[in-house]
Symmetry: C2
Subunit: 718 residues, 2 copies
Amino acid sequence: MCLLIMLLLGMVNNACADEGYKLWLEYNKIADRPAAAVYKQQLKYMIFPAESDQLKAAKAELIKGLEGMLSMHPADTKSITGGQTIIIGTTQSLKGLAVIVPDSIGNQGYLIKTALINQKKCILITAKTDVGVLYGVFNFLKLLQTRQPINKLNIADRPRIMYRVLDHWDNLNRTVERGYAGSSIWNWHRLPGIIDQRYIDYARANASVGINGSVINNVNADALILSPQYLTKIQALANVFRVYGIKLYLSVKFSSPVELGHLKTADPLNDDVRKWWADKIDEIYRYIPDFGGFLVKANSEGQPGPQTYGRTHADGANMLADALAPHHGIVMWRAFVYDNNVPDDRSKQAYNEFKPFDGKFKDNVIIQVKNGPIDFQPREPFHPLFGAMPNTALMMEFQLTQEYLGFSTHLVYEAPLFAETLQSDTYTAGKGSTVSRILQGSFNKKLITGMAGVANIGTDLNWCGHPFAQANWYAFGRMAWNPDQSSSAIAGDWLKMTFTNDAGFVSSIKKVMLQSRENTVNYMTPLGLHHIMGVSTHYGPGPWVDNAGRPDWNATYYHKADSAGIGFNRTGTGSNALSQYAQPVQLHWENLQTCPDEYLLWFHHLSWTYKMRSGRSLWDELVYHYYMGADSVKQMGLIWDKMQGKIDVERFNQVQQLMKVQLTEATTWRDACVLYFQAFSKMPVGAGYPKPEHPLSYYKEMKFYYVPGIGGNNYMTN
Amino acid sequence: MCLLIMLLLGMVNNACADEGYKLWLEYNKIADRPAAAVYKQQLKYMIFPAESDQLKAAKAELIKGLEGMLSMHPADTKSITGGQTIIIGTTQSLKGLAVIVPDSIGNQGYLIKTALINQKKCILITAKTDVGVLYGVFNFLKLLQTRQPINKLNIADRPRIMYRVLDHWDNLNRTVERGYAGSSIWNWHRLPGIIDQRYIDYARANASVGINGSVINNVNADALILSPQYLTKIQALANVFRVYGIKLYLSVKFSSPVELGHLKTADPLNDDVRKWWADKIDEIYRYIPDFGGFLVKANSEGQPGPQTYGRTHADGANMLADALAPHHGIVMWRAFVYDNNVPDDRSKQAYNEFKPFDGKFKDNVIIQVKNGPIDFQPREPFHPLFGAMPNTALMMEFQLTQEYLGFSTHLVYEAPLFAETLQSDTYTAGKGSTVSRILQGSFNKKLITGMAGVANIGTDLNWCGHPFAQANWYAFGRMAWNPDQSSSAIAGDWLKMTFTNDAGFVSSIKKVMLQSRENTVNYMTPLGLHHIMGVSTHYGPGPWVDNAGRPDWNATYYHKADSAGIGFNRTGTGSNALSQYAQPVQLHWENLQTCPDEYLLWFHHLSWTYKMRSGRSLWDELVYHYYMGADSVKQMGLIWDKMQGKIDVERFNQVQQLMKVQLTEATTWRDACVLYFQAFSKMPVGAGYPKPEHPLSYYKEMKFYYVPGIGGNNYMTN
């Protein structure tokens, strides 16, 4: 009954517990009294004229943060009398004070600095725009949340990416495709009349990390979203978002003119179709004057698109772009496409379809490209389209929701995955052409820039299912703001803001976080393996899947294990997907001497006895990684156990339970995959390793019902 | 931008806001310092030995409550030294103190009294059992929550009903049939490994009002629930519930032996079937030694049942009862049945099917009867089965979820509805044979007793969607404990425990609550009208529905409006449903002189010009009620507006928004129904009444998509 006792203890302690609802905006009281006193001393007075909604929101947030952390409320004043004043506003709202903001911070950047104003030492938070001030306030609060000194401040920051967007794969029936944290937070039935507190807290959290866009519905879109009944509801959300500097976007179904407009075609070059979209877009802007634009998944996985009518992706995207342009809206057009013909190598398809259209898209079209060429696998090489379309705006699509990373049960901090892609050098414009620089528009200043994260948010009390999944939302925002930030620094800030500033906790758990994604790669898909999960549900291991609806949905299509060896040959002697990369990259990955272990089986089919850098055979190396992966989860659990007492009991217990489940699932992954591949390699598993609990048949026959994330009233079996 | 400003203000104020998650167990700090000091003075020391899980839970709750309300923790002591001690335990756990508990409080009752023990004045909370102590502690905390004096206590209480059960209509895919508060709180995918804090807080809330059973899945049951995979998950829930004195029950599909056991039949008299159930039940008890039993919906709305095999309800129920009896489990068998033949009057069917079997059910079978003979309408006369089966255990089924009462958007306090049914006199054993007394077993002491409430609980932050819907969960528990408690007293306690002890707030809003159900009857189904809501979704008005799947799903079947008049003739000249009631009741309702207006059109078809007691024509009276109903919602809103500042801003705002939507929907109901019936009456609406905003056709053509509560990936239109 150990569990029950822990739970009971938990109850005693939660006088103000929130089960993680407050995210990284906990604003818990600063227990270190001298430190708190030093802060308070510098915040006695406040000059913060707030007339606009955004400035009001910034001011309310500041007060909320200071009341939470310091139990104080700076005295409102209109003039600087004796220092100890925090002055907040734009040059315009602070017009009496002659504040100067350098052009370099742009329209969304901010300054936080210690300044002498009227001969008094003050803290100044300023920006060119209201939203810049809002960002400045959140970042000032972060200084307190992370216990930084505020007596000598000189911070100037600005976002490096223009469109920093969350993509919600939320359906109108409130299921969430690949959502593992409850149902959709958008309560359509009750909108527009009822504004859930969730909407406001969602917007606050986004603004706190600089996210400035939200695509509220699934890319597999329902045409109804564009009906007046829904636009009224959407308008109510946009009104909340606007206060926090967030634009609302919609995913649209390309065939909406047929379904909603009762036209006979959705051909993008048809005049009636063009007029229908233009009228519809005008209508949307009547509801939402600052509407952001559309996200479109076209001609992919059965979705309609311009190709349905013999037109190109450029025809389709440009048609919508033309209609949005007068309103300053944009089109985010997804490159994740595959048609009904099974390709020799699915990884090549996006490049093949899009590269020819480089330079053909309108200025307000941005192509949304997944980080890798398959589909959000635990590890993929960077997508070959990055750098391959120098005259086309490309934005990144990361997946925060853990479709292939253990759902919301596994602790996987994704920032290292993001960073790995972002810091990859494409060589497309010579050495140093990192994905990050491409995304920032460094090689073509004319282009718009963007980064999207597929949201991991739902109605769970803690928003994301796993307390640590919140870190992925947070880290995405931080990296969309500045793609070159370090995963480690972000983890540190997040831990302090979310849990505690206890140094032992932060340093131990930061290490756990930084290692966590590699753990998952190891127990799921080491050495470049990919797409070997359960079919449809994407839950649990399924390397044996060979009877899915089409060949490129099968695991066997990807790992190609046979008695001779394993791996997908994407070199010149195989699918030659490598040819889609710049030559230095191509050579590096093609050459077995230089191809990193991490990508080995992604690009090469090798014999089971192939000798690895470690000296082990490929088979032994594979086994080593699987066992290391599962073992690292065990180690992580032991470290966590030592954190008892350092944080609130509820979240401590919850994470402890989750880690136990993760260990069980990691062990299942390991045993199922090792047993499955062993049937090909016929080689032994080293004597030191524990034996699998069950034979392979057991794992193959495991059945899972009502697996979350499928999107409806499903009864899927794995 | 008034809304936004309010919302921003809300943010400032919610340092410890919980959006209603804490229900009536808020335990907010008692702001009245002298009052708090008086309490503290009496609670300096505590003797509370707690070795069992239930006593540990009781102790943890006490500490939680005292820390929340008084910021104190009584000092643990082992002996009474100087008074000011609270002594808590069973006679056994307090064995050194020679505490005596009278037999009359039974196994679940408790005493709370000021006592002289060892010559010292103490507060004693005691009971025969651990769960009795738990109930005592919650009720002691209630005294503090409602600011009662605790210096002269002498409370002895016990439940009047044995089985006090919540029925969850939760599906395994986490949709909730007729659920309007998000999705199912049971996270099946993550069970058994992850114990959500929700499960614990759910159990705490139930225990606080004495609910001692939970049927966790939909009566339209999935056979999978009995598979080992699910039993493992269910066991984890039962382990949590047990600590709070709650037994877990399952809804079962009668054909499970076919679907899960691969038998050819589910005939209850077949030996293989009987063995299958006996084995399955043994298996369940291996997982859950104190498993409660089954709830069965058989031969109703397409569900399989014994009649499918030519057997009777008694055959079916008794077969399961035999298998459960050795384990002390019970069968709750629903009387809500209707077969595929459309009856002359659906209201008669349950009585006709069950009455002949009086005395034929095993002792551990209890027939679960809805409060009225149709289906949880805003108002129904009591169900004729109550009192009609003196040799059969009958339990009440109330519906807490507001399927026909405005979903979770309308403020409808249901206790007056419960009380109306409970205090109805059936006359079946002479005057005073109230439904309440029948349920309490007053007329047959041999029978087991029970009351069920169809839960209104989901994953919404505040559990029930509407802050005031929590009151229905609370009131159900209180009335299941003692069916004769007053709606008003319960409302008062709930308001104080949930919101504030502010006297102005409590008295104003208690009045609002007590009036609220009658408001809804008035704008939906006044004067005995029933079942005129939207088809399938049950959302909004649908008096015109005449093309549903079968005649008795149509509104026209029930209101029978024509040019001559309106109402369902259930007298001797009509369906004679009245004959199912005891003669005094029959005569009372048959006679137009005595039949109350509330039931008029339930039992009588009357001309539009029929003269009512008020002097008005029936038509004018109908119009009067519809307008009064909608107007009362407006009045309620005005009263609420005055409460600003008396409670937390979040819930104030939320209720204010909900009331606006309720007013819109009430007005739609009013206008749609008045216009529809006017097409028959051809009579004018009084000059003083505002005109409907739209013509009848507008209301008939309103379309609603993805209405909640249907149970899956639905796209229903109304």
